[in-house]
Symmetry: C2
Subunit: 618 residues, 2 copies
Amino acid sequence: MVKRYLDLVSLERALAVLGEAFRCRPRTERVPLEEASGRVTAAPIFARLSVPAIHISAMDGIAVRSAETRGASESRPVVLTDAVRVNTGNIVPPAYDAVVMIEDVWIGEGTYTVRKAVAPWQHVRPVGEDIGESEMILPSLHRIRPHELGALAAYGVTDVEALALSAGLIPTGSELVPAGTRPGPGQAVESNTLMAAAHLRALGVEARRYAIVPDEPDLIRAAILEGIRENDILIVSAGSSAGTRDYTASIIAELGEVLVHGVAIKPAKPVIIGKIEGKPVIGLPGYPLAAFTILREIVTPLVARYGFPVPEAGTVEAALTTTLHSDIGTDEFVLLSTGRIGGRWVAVPQSRGAGVQMSAVRANAVMTIPAAKEGVEAGETIRARLMVPRRQAEEAVLITGSHDPCLDRLADLVRPGGVEVHSTHVGSMGGLLTLKKRQCHTAPMHLLAPDGEYNIPFLRKYLPDEEIVLVCVAEREQGLISREGATLDDLPALRYANRQKGSGTRLLLDYLLKERGVDPALIRGYEREFTTHLGVALAVRSGEADCGMGVYSAAQALGLTFTPVATERYELAMHADTLEDPRVRACVDAIGSDAFKQTLLQMGGYRVSETGARRVLP
Amino acid sequence: MVKRYLDLVSLERALAVLGEAFRCRPRTERVPLEEASGRVTAAPIFARLSVPAIHISAMDGIAVRSAETRGASESRPVVLTDAVRVNTGNIVPPAYDAVVMIEDVWIGEGTYTVRKAVAPWQHVRPVGEDIGESEMILPSLHRIRPHELGALAAYGVTDVEALALSAGLIPTGSELVPAGTRPGPGQAVESNTLMAAAHLRALGVEARRYAIVPDEPDLIRAAILEGIRENDILIVSAGSSAGTRDYTASIIAELGEVLVHGVAIKPAKPVIIGKIEGKPVIGLPGYPLAAFTILREIVTPLVARYGFPVPEAGTVEAALTTTLHSDIGTDEFVLLSTGRIGGRWVAVPQSRGAGVQMSAVRANAVMTIPAAKEGVEAGETIRARLMVPRRQAEEAVLITGSHDPCLDRLADLVRPGGVEVHSTHVGSMGGLLTLKKRQCHTAPMHLLAPDGEYNIPFLRKYLPDEEIVLVCVAEREQGLISREGATLDDLPALRYANRQKGSGTRLLLDYLLKERGVDPALIRGYEREFTTHLGVALAVRSGEADCGMGVYSAAQALGLTFTPVATERYELAMHADTLEDPRVRACVDAIGSDAFKQTLLQMGGYRVSETGARRVLP
C-alpha cells in the first residue's frame, strides 16, 4: 500500500527514533598501523613495551657511578677509571647510575677526567620514562592522529582494532543518468550517491555505491535486499516522497518497517527512516540540497551513534544581513556565507531554492530557523554552524552587489594567499544598501546617474558623510546580446530579456531608453526579470527572448552576438577603513596586478586603462 | 667532508630558504569525480552545463499561460482548455510561462479549472537558475568538500585537475627494526616514516615509504638517488645530526647542496634542508618528537608552498599553569593539554623530554617560547595553537594530580559522550596547588594526614574558605611491589624504589615508617624518585630495586608480587561550582556507574563500597 501523504514528525523526534529503534553497534576490524591514521579505536590501546625498555643515556658521554663524581669541577677534576663511553640512546649498564656529558670529560688511556659532578640518574632516561608496558595509550572511540602512529609503533603496537561500518547507497529514478553522461531533456545526472559516499567516507564509513535502479518496484526491492545483505546501513536515494512513482516507502514497509516518513524540516521533508532486518534504511529526498540536509542532520547523527566522532567546526554568532520568512512548524535550514567585518561576524543567506546546489558550494555555514519562529529579521543575531574550519571562515571577504564573471577570476587570483572571496549577487543598489549597513566588505557597482556619472552620485546620496574608496575593476562594455545581432533601435520590435530592479544594467537600459525617448512599456518582456548576465544570455539562446543587455563574456560563453552599447565604470566601493583589512587589501592589490589585467583582456569586453584606479569620497 | 657541528639558523630563516631555493610547482593529475573529495583543484572548474538546462516546473501542477489565469480565485475560478500536466522537474513547454499548483486545479475532460491566478514565471525554475554554462564553480587551490561532488556532477563535470605531489620517505639507521618487530637491546622500532607518511597523506600528499637503510654511506646514497628520481620531495629520517655516523648531510652535499643544517628550535635542532636535482630534501632528526616538530613547522609549510591548503585548527589564549624556562636564542615548542575552566582557557605543559612521545599523544595544542625569551611564568597568557578542532578542545576535562591507572579507564568510559579527559601526573600535592589556582577541573589525591584522615585536612589547610566537593574514586590498596614478596619489616634490608616528594605514596611510606619508628635514612634508595606506580614496578622488575610501594595493578601488569600495606581513600577534589560543568558531571556520574565499579574490580586492588560517595567542605 502506498501512502499519498506524509505524517511529518519533528527533527528532534526523528533523531530520537534512531536511538530507540537501533542498537547501533558497529563492527570492528583489525587494521595494520600503516592504514590506521584517521581510523577510530574500537577499544583502548595499551602499550606492549616499556619505552625505554631499559635505562638509556640521554646524552653522548660516559656512564658513571654518580657518587664517584662528587665534588668534581673545572678547577678540581676527578679521575675515574671505571666508566663506559655511551652515545645518546645507548644502554646505561646496571653498574652505573648517571651520565657525564662528553663536553665535561677528558678521555685518556683507561682514565676519564670528569670536570662536573652529576647527581644520581642525571642524563639517564629511566626505563618506562615515556610509557610503561600495560599503560593505556589511547582510549576507545578516538580518531587516530597521524603523529600517534609513531608512538603506537614505538610502544609495540602493530595493528589496532578499529570501528567498521559500511553503508550501501542505492540511486533510484528512471530519469537518472550516471555522472559523466550528458543528460537529455528531462534527464538528470545522478549525483546524490556520489555526494553521500564522499560525505560518509569523510566520517570514516565505508560507502558502497550501487548502480542506478529505474522506478520499478521489483528492481528496487531486489536492490534493497542486496544492499541490506551487504551493509550495516542502507541509503536509498529518492523515491522517498509520496508521488505516484515513489515506491521506496512501500517497499521498505513490505520488507521491514517504516518508522518515519516525513520530517518537518526544509529543505528535505520527504525523508524515510526505515528498518529492515534490524538495520537502518534511510530514504533520501531527490533534490540535492534536500539530500545534503538529510546527510548532515540525520545520517551524520546516525553514524555518530555507532561511535564515530563527528568533527564539528563550531559555531559563530553572526548578524543576519537579510530578513528571512519561514513557515511555523518547520525547522528551516538556510545556507550562509559568513565572514568577519571589523570585529563582528556577518551572515549572508544563500538562495533558498532546493534546486540551487551552488548555494551549498558557496556556503561556509548553515543556520536553523526553528519551527516556532516565523522568520528572522535583518540585523538579528543568529547562530551560524560553520561548514569550514573557523580559521577559514575568518579569511572570507564578503563581496555583495553587482556580479561580473571577472569577480570569480579575482577570487581565483587571491586564493593562493588564503583569501576566500564570497560574492553574493544582489545588484548594484542591493550592494550599496548592504555596504551602508556595513554588512559586506565591499560592494561592486555600476550605477549610472542621470548626469552620466557612475556610482559617486549614489554613494553621496546614500552614504553622505562616510569616507568611501572606489576601486575601479574595469571599464566594462555592456551590449545587446542576441542570436544574430540587434541594436537599440531594434528593441521595440524584439522580445527583450530584462534585468531585475536595482541592477546597474536595468538602470543603463532605462537611461538609454530615456535618451532615445522610448517608452519602456513598448518593450516586450520588460517585466520579465533575470538576475544575471548569463541568465539573460541563456534566455536569448533558448529562443525565449530575442535580445537582452549584458556583458561580452556572457554572450561569448554561449556563442551569441554582442553589440556594444555603452562602456561603464565597474567599481568596488568600500569604507576607507576596510582597506586596512589585509584580506581586502589582497583583493585590491590583485585588481591592480598585471595578471588580473591580462585575465580581463583574455575574457574580452573590458578596458583596463582604469583598472586599479582609486577614487576617494567625500 | 662531514661537518661535526651545526651552523644554526632561525626557523624564520629556514622557512625563507624554502621560498628562495625552490619553485614549488606541484604536478597536476586528472582525478575522476568519485575520488575527488578532499583533493585540491589545480585550476578553476567551470560549469559544462546550465542547470536547469531549460525551464522546468518547480511544482506538481499544470503549465499555463499566466495571462489566462488573471483574476482566478476560489470564488471565481477560470476554466482553461490549453494547459499541460507537469510534475516537479518536468519541462515547461515554450508555449507556457507559469505553473499552477495541482492543489489549485480541478482537471476535467480537456478542461483545467484554476482557482488561483499565477504571475508570469511563477513556480518555474528558469534555465540556469542554479548555474549557467561557463560559470566558475570552484576556484583553484580549493580543497573539494564532499557535497561539492554532487554539484560538480550535476554541472557536467566528470573529472577534475587536482594538485599532485609525492614525497619519498627513507628511514636510515642500523639500530632500526620495522614496526611489528620487537626491538632487541639497543634497537628501536622505526616509526618516524610511519608518522610522516600519515602526516603527509592528511595534507593530500602521496607518501611513499622505502625500506630501512643501515648506516652505510653507499646504501644511503643509492636510496637517496632512487627517492629523488621517484618523488617531488624527499624526506630522509635521521642521520641528520653531526655525530660520527650521521651521513645524511654529507651525502646530500655530495649529490646536491645542503642549504640549512641545524635550526635553532627545540626539540629538533639537527634538521637538514637540502636540494638535489632542484628538489627539496629534508633530513629529519631521529627523536620522534623532534621529527614531529619538523613535520609540523617545516614540512607542512613546504607542502603549503605547493598550493595545498593547510588546515589550521586555530589558536586560543590560555593561562599557562607552570613556569617554563627556556634557552635564549632557541624557539622552543612545548606541547600542551589545554581546556576551558569556567570562562577561561588553561594550558598545562606536557613533559618536554624529546623522547617522550606520549606528550604528543596527550597534547591537544602546542605553544612556542620565542628565541628572545628566557621562559614563561606560571599564570602568563600564552597563545596555544590547537592540534584538534576547537570544539574538541572545549570538551577537555583537565585532571591534574595523583595518577592511578583507573583514571585512564574513566577516560575511556566518558569518551563516547564526547568528553576528553586530560590527566597530568604531578602528584597529590601538585594537584592540590593546581586546584587552588583553579588551573584544573579536578585534582585526584590520596594525602594521608598525621591523624590518619585522608585529604580533608590538606584541603582545609590549603583552600580554607572554599566550597570543595570530594568524590571518592575508590578505596585503594597500596602495597609493596617486589619480585618475591616483601613486608614493611624487610625494608631496611632491601633496595627501595621511592616516589617523588608531594606524592601521596611517598607520604604514606613516611607515615608508615614513622609509625614503626624507622629512620628514612636507613632505607637504601630512599632518594631515588620515580614519578609513577609503574615506574616503581619497572625498577623492581629490572632488578634495579628490590621493592617499592605502589598500587596492585602496577604489580600485576608486570607479573610482580603485591603485599598490601594500607587502604587509602583516592578522591577527586573539585570546587563545588565545577560540578555544574556538564563534562565534569559526566565524569562524576561515570565514577558512580556500575560499569566503572566493575572495571575497578576487574583491575583488582580496589574496594568499591565508597566509590562515587561525596564529601563536601567546609
